[in-house]
Each structure stands twice: as structure tokens, then as C-alpha cells.
Subunit: 353 residues, 2 copies
């Protein structure tokens, strides 16, 4: 008999179809395409800085010039932004309908100069610098009073919506708190109102105690498969310290964040052979860093199945891999040693943070 | 500048990215695979009735036997149901988490004996009989007090989640009102509470008056692109008579429903070359046929783009085809004459309805 599990935050139900449970080998394998180390037509490759809008942030070797080579992390506005940074909202009604200008921000975080090296396989310090770039751009955009929410996310693989292969993350800032975020906040508030505890802190305790859905742990984070996982191999990274905003991360937590992110992505890679995936940082809206009922975290969704009419019509997902089985596969994954990025003569200073 | 449009029912915002608007030719074409008229390995083809669980409904030629050939519409339980029809819910808590048995129903409506003839290209009477089968199964399952909601939907094409090519629809009955449905109902109730009018009746009036998003119309229905369409070529079929439940459809409305559904799907086919799509009937929960604030309808979502990290993290969709442009393309689509299904010696009686 399939079982129904309820997400303790949003209250959404998920169908766990354990009877025909799918193990990693049952999913189509997604062997990585053979990409060159450098692609002269790629706008994110070194030497092609002129193909993107001017950079808004770069971690650069001393002496290198803006919008030229010499960077190891580079952030640029999206050339085709979903939301545009100039202009006013000009809210208006059109008969019964509501309208506003698409004001916001849309940036690309280019994670390394290497065209073919995935985030999971960069060295620890480089991953940490990507996360520092996330935070620097978050803090800068948070100053703009038109922007109410900032989402940082990553699309990996064509099936997960990545149109360029050069490893990159994205940031979109919106002029309202988006519906999904509002629903998550409302659910967390409802739980806190009833129990006087943070729902994520409770999840942290229960998952650490039970262990069956844990994938990994270090000083500052746990990685686990949520009880009501919507997707096969859905994995969350949850900081141990209660904090509503990603931007309030401390330096020692940031290196643990980089470590647990790399370790988890490598396990996902090893189990599922480089599957397409999306990850998103769930953080509090810009104006509510201090809320007691929310707890920032990162959610990874491998894209192994298709949401069809049932999921679109109900919001109920059918998950064909019970999270306990997924956690076991990920814990047992055999990881090769990560090859370090070659960065000859680089001084990785803190100056640009 | 992109624009933000708000769904008047749910309150969700959608980004309409009109500057690089995509016309039909900009989407990958999905030419139909060459399927045979009959496939001896297909569980939905005549002669293979033994490959499915026993039928729960069939419209049959007089004298033909249950679970044998001689039907023109056949409904069977899904062999691998998302929810199982036997058993009790046995609701339970597991620490902080909520659990219940996956009780419900999951049925397949086989739309015709022809393996290779798509719903849109069946003759009008056959499509109407598919819709009568939807209604008959809806009314039968509604009697089961464990079931709170019944979703009827159709997945067409592999990208839209169809794993078998023989044309079929599905029905899933759930033991709770699903989250997406609850959100839609709550939005409709909010609107009605503020204006004392049904939001869908208001949409019907505004779309009929403006005309720029209309695709088609007959005596009982309009077909239109919603103002805040989430997807390129998203199309809704909305009955002109206010009614919360699909099951309360009248006989003359049913033939108009079949006509507008066939006409719309043929236009979608002609514009986008047989794209993958999902459609879902949005109807009231089982216990609230009479609610004044809800209005049943059918939503068609062509699957031309990929929901990625931004959509998953925010619930805000980026639609690259403004609905006014999509409506114009669909209105102007040139439709070939539909080839009638050959049904020699068939008596299409009302006896099985």
C-alpha cells in the first residue's frame, strides 16, 4: 500500500510509492557530456568577459583588470534578465487584473574559470568563495528597498533548465515575497504558534536522533532526506544554529557549508551518475532577518521524474524512492578524491569579500 | 521591460517576458511518433483486455462481454495505482511527522480502441462519450465517504509524463483536499468575500468583452489564454453557466464541451506540432457541489519550457509567450478536417451511460 506523508512545514501531502521503489540504477543515467576545459564561444569562459554585461563582483588576482581575465569567481547581470533592475513598479489595475513592471535583479555567479569542472568537483576553498560571492551579492541587493526577496539557485543539466554548461549559479531578486516562500513562511509560523518551537529545529533534532534519513553531518550542518520528500533523492542541508537568514552565516559555518555541499553533491553524482538537479537557498525575506519561526537551509532536487497532470492539478507529488532508501544509497556512495583546481600563482585573499 | 501579472484567483504573480517573446516556431517541434493502429503488446488495445485489471465501466456494443473486445470507451483501475482503493487511512503521528495509508482510487479511461488516434482527432460523438465516462466514474467514486477530492487529467506525450502511448485519461481520488486545490478554493473564496461575485464569472465577462485572449467560443463555453498564464499557450475552457461541479454538467453542455475541447486541442496541435501537454479538470471537492465561489473548468498546459530552480523556489513562472500572442496564433491556426473514427456496425446507445 502506498503511504501518505505530510510535510510538517507546508502541510502538503506526498505519496511515497514504496512498493515499486526505484533504486538509482532504475533511473536513466545521465553521463556527463564531454565538455572542453575552455570554449571560445562560451560567454562565461576567461577571455570572453566582453560577451557579458559588466561584472558587479569578481574575486580577482592582484593587478588584474575589471572585465578581463584573472578572476576565479565572477558575478554579472543576466544578459536576458527575468526581471530588470531599472525602473519603478508602476502598479496598476486592468479591469479585474493586477499588473506591475517587472522590476528586480537577475545575476549570474560564474563559479570558476573552468568550463568543464562542476561545482561539486571544485576544491573546498573555491566552493567556499562561490558561497561568499552569494552572500556579498545578497547583502548588496538587500539595500535596495524595492526588493523584498532574494533567491539564490543553481540549475544543473539541460533537463533541470540549464541552457549554458559552464558552471554557474543564479540570483533573482523580486519586488514581492513569492507565493511559495509565503506558503513556507506561513507554515513555519503556524507550527511555531502552536508549539512555540522552530519547525526546522525540531526536524534537526528528530532526524539526528532517528538517523535513517541522514546523509551526512559536520560541525555546523546536517544533510538529510526529508520525511515527506517530494522527489527521489531530494536532499536538504540544514544549519545546526537557528538563524533565519543565509546572509548571517559566520565564517566557520561557511567552510562547513562548502564542505557539506560538496560532499552531498558528490554523493548525488556518484549514486545517480551526474543527474540534472536544481538547488535553492531558502532564506527569510529581506525585511525579516530575525524571525524566530524561520530557519534558512538549502534544498537539492534531482530531476529524475516528470511532474505530470496529477502533480500539477493537486500539488501532491508521487515519490518513487522512499527517503530512507535514498539516504542509505547516498551514505554508502563511494566517493573518488576530488581533483583540486589548478590555480597557479593565485593569492586567495579575503580582500574581495 | 518584463511585466508582472497577478493570477486573480490564487494571487500568484507570473513574469511575462514579452521582449524576447517566443512564437510557435521557436519551440522545439514535437512531430508525432509513427504509431501503429494496433499494438499487440499494448494493454489498452482491443484483444488485450486481460492485461489490465477488470474493467469498472465500458461503453460496449450490444452482446459483447465484459473484459473482451467490443468496447469503444473502457475504464480500468490503474495496474500500478498511486493510491490503493482498499483499506483504512489509519492516520498516525511519527514523532513530529504525520502519516496515513495511501487510500484512494486511480483509474485509466481508455479513450478509444485505436492505438494511434489522439483524442483531438476522434469524432465528436466519441469525445463526448469519453467525457460521459469521466462523469460516470466521478459520480460513482463520489459515493465513497473516504474520498474527498477527484481529479480527472490527461498526460499527452512522454515529456508530459505519459508512459503509454495508447490515448487515455486518468482519474485519481484522494482522501484529502489537495494543497493546490485548497489554495485555488481559498483564493476564489477571498475574491467572492470581497466583491460578492464569482471570480470565474468575472473572468468570463472580461475575457468575452476584451477578446484579445479569446481562442474560441460556443453556446456553453469559452476557450481563452488566462491573463496571468504560467505557461506558453496555457488555455482554459470555462463553462458559461456558473456551476461548482463538473459532474453537474447538462447533456447539451456536454456536447459543447466535447466540441470546444476538440477544437482547442486541434488548434494547439496545429500551432505547436503535437506538443506534449497536460490537462486537468478543476472541480469542487466531493462535499461542496453547491459552493457559490467556485466554478469548474479545464486547464490545458502545453509542456514547452522547463520549470527550473527559480520557479521551484518561488512559485513564480516565467512565461516567454504573452497570452495575447498565443491567443492570436491559436485563433489563426488552420485546422484540417477531422477524420471520423470508423465504427462499423456500432450502435452508439445511451444505455451504458
Amino acid at each position: 500500500m502506498p503511504e501518505l506523508r505530510r510535510d510538517p512545514i507546508t502541510g502538503e501531502w506526498v505519496i511515497i510509492a514504496g512498493e515499486r521503489a526505484k533504486r538509482p540504477k532504475d533511473f536513466a543515467s545521465h553521463l556527463p557530456a564531454d565538455e572542453p576545459e575552455h570554449d571560445s564561444t562560451c560567454p562565461f569562459c576567461p577571455g570572453n568577459e566582453g560577451m557579458t554585461p559588466p561584472e558587479v563582483l569578481a574575486f580577482r588576482h592582484p593587478g588584474s583588470e575589471r572585465d578581463s581575465t584573472g578572476w576565479w569567481v565572477r558575478v554579472v547581470p543576466n544578459k536576458y534578465p527575468a526581471l530588470a533592475v531599472e525602473g519603478d513598479l508602476n502598479k496598476a489595475g486592468l479591469g479585474m487584473y493586477d499588473w506591475m513592471n517587472g522590476v528586480g535583479a537577475h545575476e549570474v555567479i560564474i563559479e570558476s574559470p573552468d568550463h568543464d569542472r562542476q561545482l561539486a568537483h571544485l576544491d573546498a576553498r573555491q566552493i567556499e568563495d562561490v558561497l561568499w560571492a552569494y552572500r556579498a551579492r545578497y547583502l548588496d541587493l538587500k539595500k535596495d528597498p524595492r526588493l523584498k526577496y532574494i533567491l539564490i539557485f543553481r540549475n544543473h543539466g539541460r533537463v533541470a533548465g540549464a541552457s549554458l554548461t559552464h558552471p554557474h549559479s543564479q540570483l533573482v531578486a523580486t519586488p514581492m515575497v513569492p507565493g511559495e516562500v509565503a506558503a513556507e513562511l506561513a507554515g513555519a509560523k503556524r507550527y511555531e504558534g502552536y508549539r512555540d518551537r522552530c519547525v526546522y529545529c525540531d526536524i534537526l533534532r528528530q532526524e539526528t536522533n532517528e538517523g535513517s534519513r541522514l546523509v551526512g553531518e559536520n560541525g555546523s550542518f546536517i544533510a538529510f532526506e526529508p520525511y515527506a520528500s517530494k522527489f527521489p533523492f531530494e536532499t536538504w542541508l540544514l544549519p545546526k544554529r537557528h538563524c533565519a537568514s543565509f546572509a548571517a552565516i559566520a565564517a566557520e559555518e561557511q567552510s562547513d557549508f562548502a564542505e557539506v555541499l560538496a560532499d552531498t553533491l558528490r554523493r548525488v553524482d556518484a549514486c545517480l551518475l551526474d543527474p540534472p538537479y536544481n538547488y535553492m537557498i531558502h532564506t527569510a525575506p529581506c525585511d525579516s532577518d530575525d524571525r524566530q519561526d524561520f530557519h534558512w537551509h538549502l534544498e537539492i532536487f534531482p530531476r529524475l521524474t516528470i511532474a505530470a497532470g496529477f502533480e500539477m492539478g493537486t500539488g501532491i507529488y508521487i515519490n518513487v524512492t522512499p527517503p530512507e532508501m535514498a539516504a542509505e544509497c547516498l551514505r554508502e556512495a563511494s566517493l573518488g578524491a576530488a581533483a583540486p583546481v589548478e590555480q597557479e600563482g593565485v593569492t586567495l585573499g579575503d580582500s574581495d569579500r
